[in-house]
């Protein structure tokens, strides 16, 4: 009789399996297990299963794997950040606005809901829908799978333009206060966000504003042909109406009394000091040289109503674009923008450069200012510039004068070469530490300064950024102030609200429209240029009408509809691999990330995007999906016979005081 693997010990039959030499360090020379049987016939019945059990301990193993290779691990999709990162637009947004959800709401014509979803995260949907710097758009998946991104920013404006009455949806401010008084300096987006987040919790919020109206740089520096005053007023005063105590024309001379009078102080005073250009002739020509942001402010408050016929704008940022376009509207006939750097390195957003050029304003790059030129009467009549070239110096390319000089005639010069922070009203001895370039030392997470009662946000914290960053800072500062006033550790930040729910509505039916629109990005209609250039307040961009908005909304790839894989259900039929339009899905033997990325159906070269890795399947392979190109069409789930793939909506709402303690109301 065949007694292979069997031996007898105290009249019981045992199984013994020899261990291959390479595993002996780990397992010893053999593995043994009792069959529990005294009768050989019965032992023979169970022998094979015990042998294969024992062998399985080392059969799937590879010695080399254990010691040297860093194998890919199963992706932990319970980590809310994993799928958050797949939603590129939401991940890129500093305020983590739930973009795909509001675009779907637009597609369902639920504009009010879409507006409120925005309002929860970014506080100023109408303003941002016209002026946001749009970090979401370059991140949009469509830039990788198709061509241009979804017009996310313009769709945000659609929610504002088409919303219904929202007064009843704004969280109520309790009449009974919690007894804590918070001061905010500067009524810009950062302070207003802090006020909005704290008012419904019962905080007593006082906002000090140096100008006569609230809004900060949104009012003073963004011309009304880009942002109509009515939009600005509506969204800014909505927060004031929630119960903030606004003190206008209140320039703070000294911070110290506020620290004593209030439980916490938030400084959102912006970066209000425009940089000057100290060149020969600056002092003599001072009447015709204007600091860009100050000049824009005086237009906003209607102090400045005209400018010379020939205007030079120095600088390549968004302020320069606003200055040149404002100058044209004030009647200048010859406006030029000069930029020191090459055109492709300009700081202004592409679309703002485009708009300026569409209005016929030339942008002269590689042109560095050298001297203000005065005529015989001592009045400014032109500027001399060095033409610049890129040269390789010590291995790095640098911008240096080419030797050529040019002179441009002008009546006025607008300087838009940057902004600085200025805190003359913060005495150095009150406990707020200032670091490099006289900037306050601020904690990146908590926004707290070295004085525990003082918090910074917006441009005041780390220099000029844009509105959406100020909003994000405001949320974080509000959390910190709330924690601070409740004696909670400031590093105890609220968790995001997340959810992952199947969207299956039946066989092959999803709750979302999974058809992929192949349409190109729709252009936003513009006002008639000849009329727009004569009117300082006429909005140039008209925004999408409903038809265009609905078509543009279809371009969204629904990146929050996640492909979720259950390896236990998979029968490895490859149906998902074959149907995937962008060849994202692979079944492959495990290896290091670098090796796997190279071995996929289409190598995964975009290292910013994750690989979604399953646990081990029956054939010892793993499902590896490259998240980079997935269009979230759901075809993998439609063609899956066992439901191993499912489309699940990943909801992610960044934690802030409002959504954690008081729910923003939803439309009934």
């Amino acid at each position: 009789m065949d007694k292979k693997y069997l031996f007898k010990r105290n009249s019981i039959w045992w199984v013994k399996v020899a261990v291959p030499s390479k595993f002996r360090e780990q397992f010893g020379f053999d593995l043994r297990q009792s069959t529990g049987e005294k009768d050989l016939d019965k032992a023979l019945l169970v022998r094979d299963s015990i042998v294969s059990d024992l062998k399985s301990k080392f059969l799937g193993l590879n010695v080399e794997d254990k010691s040297t290779k860093d194998f890919l691990k199963k992706t932990d999709i319970t980590d809310p950040q994993y799928f958050h990162k797949v939603v590129d637009c939401q991940y890129a947004c500093p305020a983590h606005t739930n973009v795909p959800e509001y675009i779907r709401l637009i597609a369902q014509k639920k504009y009010t809901d879409a507006y409120m979803l925005n309002w929860e995260s970014n506080v100023f949907p109408g303003i941002l829908g016209r002026t946001c710097d749009r970090p979401c758009e370059p991140a949009c998946r469509r830039t990788r799978t198709h061509d241009k991104p979804v017009a996310i920013c313009r769709l945000k404006r659609v929610t504002y333009d088409n919303k219904g009455n929202i007064e009843d949806l704004i969280p109520e401010t309790p009449k009974l206060k919690n007894g804590k008084k918070i001061a905010m300096i500067g009524a810009g987006p950062a302070s207003l966000t802090v006020a909005r987040d704290l008012l419904p919790l019962g905080y007593d919020c006082t906002i000090f504003e140096k100008d006569s109206k609230p809004g900060g740089l949104m009012r003073t520096n963004i011309p009304s042909f880009r942002l109509p005053e009515s939009v600005l007023d509506e969204e800014v005063y909505r927060i004031i109406k929630m119960g903030a105590d606004l003190k206008t024309n209140s320039y703070i001379q000294d911070l110290e009394p506020l620290i004593n009078d209030f439980d916490a102080v938030f400084i959102g005073s912006g970066a209000p000091k425009g940089k000057d250009l100290d060149l020969p002739g600056r002092k003599e020509a001072k009447d015709n040289i204007h600091i860009g942001i100050d000049w824009l402010t005086s237009i906003a408050f209607e102090h400045t109503k005209e400018i010379g016929k020939k205007v030079l704008v120095i600088g390549g940022g968004n302020t320069a674009m606003d200055c040149c376009r404002s100058a044209v509207r004030l009647g200048a006939k010859d406006v030029k923008v000069t930029v020191r750097s090459p055109f492709n390195r300009m700081k202004a957003s592409d679309w703002e450069i485009e708009e300026a050029m569409d209005e016929g304003i030339p942008i002269l790059d590689n042109t560095s200012p050298k001297e203000f030129i005065l005529d015989e009467k001592g009045k400014l009549c032109g500027m001399k510039f060095d033409k610049m070239v890129m040269k390789d110096i010590d291995g790095s390319s640098k911008l240096v004068p080419s030797g050529e000089e040019v002179i441009y005639e002008c009546d006025d010069v607008l300087l838009a070469i940057g902004q600085d922070n200025a805190f003359p009203w913060i005495r150095k001895d009150i406990g707020i530490e200032f670091g490099e370039w006289d900037m306050p030392v601020v904690d990146k997470t908590t926004m707290q300064s070295s004085h525990p009662k003082v918090f910074f946000g917006g441009d005041a914290a780390w220099g000029p950024e844009n509105i959406i960053w100020a909003v994000s800072h405001g949320h974080q500062a509000a959390i910190s102030i709330d924690n601070f006033c409740s004696n909670v550790d400031l590093n105890n930040r609220p968790d995001p609200i997340t959810n992952l729910v199947s969207q299956k509505m039946g066989i092959h039916e999803w709750s979302y429209d999974n058809d992929i629109s192949q349409a190109k990005r729709f252009e936003v209609p513009h006002a008639d240029l000849s009329k727009a250039l004569d009117d300082l307040k006429m909005e140039v961009e008209l925004g999408f009408d409903e038809k265009l908005a609905l078509e543009e909304a279809q371009r969204c790839l629904n990146c929050d509809m996640q492909t979720v894989f259950e390896e236990d259900l998979c029968i490895e039929c490859d149906a998902c691999v074959d149907i995937c339009p962008t060849d994202c899905i692979n079944f492959i033997d495990n290896d290091t990330e670098q090796e796997i990325r190279g071995k996929l159906r289409v190598p995964a070269l975009n290292l910013d995007q994750s690989l979604y890795v399953s646990g081990e399947l029956k054939t010892k392979r793993r499902m590896v999906k490259d998240e980079d190109m997935c269009v979230h069409c759901g075809l993998c789930a439609e063609r899956c016979p066992t439901g191993a793939w499912d489309m699940k909506k990943h909801k992610y709402i960044e934690g802030h005081t409002l959504n954690n303690k008081i729910k923003v109301k939803e439309v009934a």
């Binding site: 074959d578 149907i579 339009p581 060849d583």
Partner: protein, 350 residues
Amino acid sequence: MSYIKPINHHPRLEKNKLGLTRRDYEGAISTLCAGCGHDSISACIIEACFQLNIEAYKVAKLSGIGCSSKAPAYFLNQSHGFNSVHGRMPSVATGANCANGDLLYLGISGDGDSASIGIGQFIHAIRRQINMVYFVENNGTYGLTKGQFSATNDLESKNKYGEDNLFKPIDLASMAIQLGASYVARSFSGDRDQLIPLIKGAIQHKGFALLDIISPCVTFNNHDSSTKSYDYIRNHNEAVGKTDFVPLGEEITTSYKSGSSVEVNLHDGSKIALEKVNSKFDPTNPGNSLNYIREKSEEGKLLTGLLYFDESSEDLHETLNLTKTPLNQLKQDELCPGEKALEIINESLS
């Protein structure tokens, strides 16, 4: 339910020598059951045609009736197609092939279409050495009529409702070898690494190539007591060896242990390299192949890979000495021999 696959593809998707991507060889979105093995076979045909730089307009897809015979709609949508009567695809293929020898003929059939209603046609297509690739998408069941046993279902396999199968199966691969098919391979729809080189070899082969592909029916024949389920085939599949297709002009780069490999030359100069698991197996000897298939079958194993290959085969065109020009391209003067030829014939009769 989606009826259209998004047309956008991965921007870095590989292109072949014709400048086409794999996606350009696709057909309509499949309406077969999700997870059907036939869809995997379609994907492998797409991949093989892509890799061989085949121009879709030089391909004719022929089929009969059945789930398998629907499959030609799901690949090569720029090729010719003929959906014939049940089991009559081989006749249509014979006629088409005689009329135009320039096209690549892909016959797509199933176990019902080939092993039952069409078995007479199937046998004669092999016997006549039609130059075509004959796919049998073999799932052992009549899926389209709700899961009855087919003629290739194994004796020990039950149906989905637990009923026993009473009859022994027809082994199409063995039958094809006996009938003189010059390229016989068996594979599994779930093993694309094996299937794609076998399809490529079959396409480049001149003569009758049979690919008997076990293709699980997820709806009616993928249960625990089935012998044509994904799990069963994965556990009982025994490959004759690793098969590589080596295009013309390329070196064989895979190194095999000496004595264990066989290379077979295809008519266009490309090669199939086979690393054998069993050194006794010789794919060029029909008797040896038949014995080996039978031996493994008795062990309860399904032998897959290139089972038989005859390098010296001649196809129907050569046997019948048919014109190399497609009939639709023949001119009047080529078709009509003229009065003089008639006179010569008449004189010979007088």
